[in-house]
């Protein structure tokens, strides 16, 4: 018994070291963001002697991060709302309504889940260009919705499959139409799954760079992640400003993670336990 306890402590040391290695890069970046250029060049590791918020202010205002931030917020918010609406409608229909071809449809949606964006990006770029949607908010929103909808439908369908069919039947007997059942019963009942899928989709959209690069070529339409990549070239000799830009992009994710970690993990693992 004492042998296994000893083993556990021996294992705990490298695990704790790994935990530090996981946190440190972000702490390092935050520290650099608070330094002056001179301080960074003289010593990379020392704690900044005073907090130089002017780097953050510079990144936010003169570098244009505020504009990119706003673009990201608008696009992510619209995408997530649409994804949740369309995903829950489809999930409810697939899980709780009987109609011809429902299992075929579900399989088709599942197949779309395994088509990675890289495989369709060339024709998609052409479709978006032909329809005049390139470089517009609706174009990028539509691209995100198309990308993450199969996953959303998959999770919502498996969630609604756990809702007892009697609830739907009872609501029908009470005189609700199918749409009424969806709007008044299923949508509110889906809240836990919607929260989990919604957070995950928000992260996917917020973190994306490839789709955004492809759909938003002009500088003023850049999303935040593309904005960060453009900082690298512009501020290669001003590391604290660069680090400030990175920090601005990372902090919202950190906040979401601190409050909704369990929901994120639930969304990630739902595919594993139900697939």
């Amino acid at each position: 018994m004492s042998g296994t306890r000893l083993t556990k402590w021996v294992v705990a040391v490298p695990m704790a070291a790994l935990a530090l290695a996981t946190i440190y890069p972000l702490v390092f970046t935050a520290n650099v963001a608070m330094k002056t250029r001179r301080e960074y060049i003289l010593d990379r590791f020392s704690l900044s002697d005073s907090l130089h918020w002017e780097n953050i202010v510079k990144a936010w205002t003169s570098v244009g991060m505020s504009r990119y931030f706003l673009n990201s917020v608008i696009v992510v918010a619209c995408s997530v709302v649409l994804l949740l609406l369309l995903g829950s409608m489809a999930g409810f229909a697939l899980a709780r309504l009987r109609f011809r071809g429902s299992s075929t449809l579900f399989l088709g949606i599942l197949a779309a889940l395994f088509v990675p964006f890289q495989v369709i990006m060339v024709p998609l770029a052409r479709i978006m260009a032909d329809t005049g949607l390139v470089d517009t908010y609706p174009g990028l929103v539509l691209a995100y919705v198309a990308q993450f909808l199969p996953f959303t439908i998959f999770l919502m369908t498996s969630y609604y499959s756990t809702v007892p069919p009697e609830i739907v039947d009872a609501a029908r007997i009470d005189g609700n139409t199918v749409y009424g059942v969806y709007w008044r019963i299923m949508l509110p009942m889906g809240a836990p799954a919607l929260l989990s899928v919604g957070v995950l989709n928000a992260l996917f959209c917020w973190n994306d760079v490839l789709i955004s690069l492809l759909m938003m070529p002009s500088a003023e339409n850049r999303t935040l992640m593309v904005g960060v990549t453009s900082l690298r070239g512009q501020y290669s000799d001003d590391i604290p400003t660069f680090a400030s830009g990175v920090l601005i992009a990372a902090v919202p994710v950190l906040l979401v993670y601190l409050f909704l970690q369990r929901q994120i993990a639930d969304g990630v693992t739902a595919g594993a336990t139900k697939g």
Partner: protein, 323 residues
């Protein structure tokens, strides 16, 4: 599928998105009177599904066919002309694409490591190593960060005059040109990818452990099994489905979600040594303006994923049966 033209699909979908959700209110009272069986009611499943299906077909499945078709046509002067397998032959001749394929091979070789690390860590967390409550939350965090942010941070850390080399210099090692040496850069990028994503697999493993029957572990303990024996004979067989899932998703992740890292950290360099197929597709489409060649590379990537995925599942199934 051919009836859904790609060109008009985009805007009409945008318009079709809102109405179904609003419909219940005006439709509610009338259909409440003539109960079930009304036309509107029978159509309801299709109305609920229509916007989603339209978007998926028009912007995911249709482009897939379009892209495969596109890969057999030419670029530039031969735009739109049928060129057979020319693009695929060009790919095989292109040293950059060959490097990309070689790097895919490297990823496949590294895959067992990328699965074993989170698997082992999850086992220890499950066995309640001291501090186990903290590890899960800490390890999972980089997995929710954008590859762009991760790449940008490691750009600083791995710079030639950066902190890591300063530390190495302090103990008399290096400096190593992490992102500038063609022999080293791909390992640096893959290492960062594993650092950033092992928490994802860890969380999936922990969800698998949650379904594990604790009495199995107790029995193993009573029988005096060592930790390696317990892992080999109890944990691996019980979690075979989870392990399968992690193998496949980790592989997909390596092949399709490293773009951000490559874009920020190396731009495919030095000397093209960090190219992966997805980056090659992007360069040919976005920079070189060779969409047909890019489509051929896309199709090749899709085939690689199908083959690797099916072979993996085959191997893992067989291994599972031998247990």
């Amino acid at each position: 599928m051919s009836s859904v033209g790609p060109a008009p699909a985009g805007p009409t979908e945008g318009a079709a998105i809102a109405p179904p959700a609003r419909r219940p209110h005006p439709a509610g009272p009338s259909s409440r009177r003539n109960r079930r069986g009304s036309r509107a009611e029978r159509l309801a499943p299709f109305v609920l599904l229509a916007p989603a299906v339209l978007i998926i077909v028009a912007l995911r499945l249709w482009p897939l066919l379009l892209g495969v078709n596109f890969s057999f046509t030419g670029d530039g002067d031969r735009n739109g002309m049928w060129v057979g397998l020319d693009n695929y032959l060009t790919l095989l001749d292109d040293p950059l694409f060959r490097t990309a394929l070689g790097n895919v091979g490297l990823l496949v070789l590294l895959l067992p490591v990328a699965v074993a690390i989170p698997g082992l860590l999850a086992t220890f967390v499950y066995l309640r190593v001291p501090g186990h409550r903290v590890y899960r939350g800490v390890y999972f965090f980089p997995a929710v960060l954008s590859p762009v942010i991760v790449g940008a941070i490691f750009n600083l850390l791995l710079a030639y005059d950066g902190p890591l080399n300063t530390v190495l210099g302090g103990v008399g090692l290096g400096p190593v040109d992490w992102l500038g040496d063609p022999d080293v850069a791909i390992f640096a990028v893959v290492g960062v990818h594993v650092w950033a994503t092992f928490g994802m697999a860890l969380v999936v493993f922990l969800a698998g452990f949650a379904t594990l029957d604790p009495s199995l572990l107790d029995a193993a303990k009573v029988d005096g099994a060592s930790l390696p024996q317990t892992i080999r004979h109890v944990i691996i067989p019980a979690l075979s489905r989870t392990i399968q899932f992690v193998f496949v998703t980790t592989m997909i992740g390596m092949l399709t979600s490293m773009f951000g890292l490559l874009y920020v950290m190396t731009s495919g360099g030095p000397e093209g040594s960090t190219y992966l197929p997805e980056y090659y597709v992007w360069i040919q489409q976005g920079q070189m303006n060779q969409p047909a060649l890019a489509s051929a590379a896309s199709t090749a990537l899709f085939l690689i994923m199908l083959v690797v995925g099916l072979v993996q599942i085959g191997i893992l199934r067989r291994a599972g049966k031998e247990e």
